[in-house]
């Protein structure tokens, strides 16, 4: 572990970077630089970052391929949506006014995300306990099946709007700034989790599950823990998604959505949270930037994926974590470069 001064320095640098991004976002919004289109892309990026990082907990750190992430996302989305709809329609609380959220609206928005995440986590627990006794392909198939079951159930039950979907959800995720802060909080929590004894235990299971058990790690306990936390954050992301769009349809949470998230994780690097952020941003923005190529857009997108997988099979960052502190350190003291490059191999487990 580095000494206290360095830890505080690195916290400070990251905090300043986050705050700086926030200020830029605010100024851009005030200056009218962010139109509806750009706002939509940024919102999707924020949601995708939460989704990709949370899936990275199970797929990258725990090393179990899970194909039902969209299922957890949909549970969160519908739970949050039904909750705020109930608050507005039945309880008659004013959540939105003309110029944005009321303070009750903000409170209910945050509460709805906790509820969405919480219910998704409960499902994660229920699915995880039996499913995580299996691993590899078997687990992938089970989670795939789970995702499809959820989708079918949503279409079946009338209270979710059935196949027609859920409409007129209060659009509480209207402020980019609020969603940005929520995204940052989610990312920080997951970072802190990974860089703790729990994260270390989960990584150990990925590396060798027999050795981890022999070293006193209760594998099942930690597997379920990682899976549940991942489900929680998928649910939170779903809650934001629902209240940003205002309408929900079960078909948008199909198998392909899970694959989309998985692609982000694999491309960014399994076991690198910063890699997930990078690829969530890239893979969300790329198709939009290629819009002028219209017909060839998805083709180019696929080619990019193939090229990355051929030349960097472990993903863009592998298990390496990008660190702003280290980058600044290298720019300020280029002489220490050599030491820094051996440090980088410490990867995810040493703060």
């Amino acid at each position: 572990m580095k000494n206290k001064k360095e830890i505080i320095k690195s916290y400070l640098i990251n905090f300043i970077a986050i705050a700086l991004m926030f200020v830029i976002l605010m100024i851009a919004t005030d200056a009218g630089l962010i139109n509806r289109y750009v706002r939509g892309i940024l919102m999707t990026i924020f949601i995708n970052i939460i989704l990709a990082i949370s899936l990275n907990l199970t797929t990258g750190f725990l090393g179990q391929i899970a194909l039902g992430h969209a299922g957890f996302m949909s549970i969160g989305a519908y739970s949050a949506a039904l909750f705020v709809k109930y608050a507005q329609d039945t309880m008659g609380i004013t959540l939105l006014q003309e110029n944005g959220l009321t303070s009750a609206g903000l409170g209910f928005f945050l509460l709805s995300l906790l509820i969405g995440g919480g219910i998704a986590a409960v499902f994660g627990l229920i699915v995880g306990i039996p499913a995580l006794r299996l691993k590899g392909d078997y687990l992938a198939i089970i989670t795939l099946g789970f995702g499809e079951i959820i989708r079918s159930l949503i279409e079946y039950f009338p209270f979710t709007g059935g196949a027609q979907g859920l409409k007129k959800i209060p659009k509480l995720a209207s402020s980019l700034n609020v969603v940005y802060i929520i995204m940052i909080v989610c990312v920080v929590i997951m970072f802190a989790f990974v860089r703790s004894r729990h994260g270390r235990a989960i990584t150990a299971i990925r590396e060798d599950d027999i050795a981890s058990e022999a070293s006193g790690i209760p594998n099942t306990h930690y597997k379920v823990m990682a899976f549940t936390i991942a489900a929680f954050f998928a649910g939170v992301a779903g809650g934001i998604y629902a209240q940003y769009l205002g309408v929900l349809g079960a078909s948008s949470f199909g198998f392909m959505k899970s694959i989309d998230i998985l692609v982000m994780v694999v491309l960014g690097g399994m076991g690198s949270l910063t890699g997930s952020i990078l690829s969530a941003v890239g893979l969300t923005a790329l198709p939009e930037m290629l819009r002028s190529f219209s017909d060839y857009r998805m083709l180019i997108y696929s080619v990019v994926l193939i090229i990355v997988m051929i030349f960097k099979p472990s993903g863009l960052l592998g298990t390496y974590e990008f660190s702003l502190t280290r980058l600044i350190d290298r720019i300020v003291h280029p002489g220490k470069h050599k030491k820094a490059s051996t440090m980088k191999k410490e990867g995810a487990e040493i703060e």
Binding site: A192, H198, R200, S215, I217, M225, E346
Partner: protein, 258 residues
């Protein structure tokens, strides 16, 4: 070694396991005193590793019982056995390959750490205190094996002999009462073996634990073990001091064929 009035740290009574119709281990009785160094030898396929798997909870015995410090260990999973105080290494090294050397050792401290998820997320005082404590402990442990300088290396990049030592260091981090070493000298050259023998002695004295080791390298077994248990076809065929065992006709028969 007189161990008449001390409770044995590990004791088995009529321990056995049957796979289908095959009796892999049968009527295995052993009693290891605290701080004793015992060797377990036998020809290939005799059931040595199966004994280890029984003792560490990988297999559940179909017969007999295991006592650790006078307490019966029943239906325990491997991580519970580790927590209770039985640590092991593996015949084919099993490290957390992509973690650092230090990280490997830290994983094994997990069971004795207390801070919860929320304390980890909020980075409370407890988190920092415990993390700092195990960081220090892990480095101390590595320095016993003279590996403190390799702390930040990735485990799979270590030379073979150091990987073996790291595995032992990791096992010791669980704070065991007894350490089971499965062929620690396998694949080592004579210098590395000599170093390892020295290390095993140091561990025993410094950590004050009992050690049970499986080994094919007879010079190692004969020179460091105080007592040797020989098994063949899953049954104990001889017990005693290295000298007694070496001259036992049954043992000679098992190794050389009658």
């Amino acid at each position: 070694m007189s161990n008449i009035d001390t409770t044995p740290v590990l004791k088995t009574e009529h321990l056995g396991i049957t796979f289908g119709g095959l009796k892999a281990v049968e009527d295995f009785n052993i009693s290891i005193a605290p701080n004793e160094l015992v060797g377990l030898i036998g020809p290939n396929g005799a059931g040595k590793t199966t004994v280890f798997n029984l003792l560490t909870g990988v297999y559940q015995p179909t017969e007999g019982r295991i006592e650790l410090d006078g307490q019966e260990m029943k239906d325990k999973k491997p991580h519970q056995m580790a927590k209770a105080g039985i640590a092991r290494t593996f015949q084919n090294i099993r490290l957390f390959k992509n973690l650092t050397v230090l990280g490997n050792v830290k994983v094994a401290f997990n069971q004795n750490m207390k801070y919860g998820i929320f304390q980890a997320i909020l980075r409370t005082g407890g988190y920092w205190r415990e993390e700092e404590e195990i960081d220090q402990k892990a480095r101390e442990l590595l320095s016993v094996f003279n590996m403190q300088d390799a702390a930040d290396k990735i485990a799979c990049n270590l030379p073979y002999g150091q990987q073996r030592k790291l595995e032992i260091a990791r096992a010791l981090a669980t704070n065991p009462k007894i350490l089971l070493l499965d062929e620690p000298a396998a694949g080592m050259n004579p210098t590395e073996t000599a170093e390892l023998m020295e290390a095993i002695r140091i561990i025993r004295d410094k950590f004050n634990i009992a050690i049970l080791l499986i080994e094919h390298d007879m010079s190692l077994v004969m020179s460091i073990c105080e007592r040797i248990v020989v098994i063949d076809y899953g049954m104990i065929i001889a017990k005693g001091t290295p000298k007694e065992v070496a001259n036992n006709p049954k043992v000679i028969g098992a190794y050389l064929g009658e």
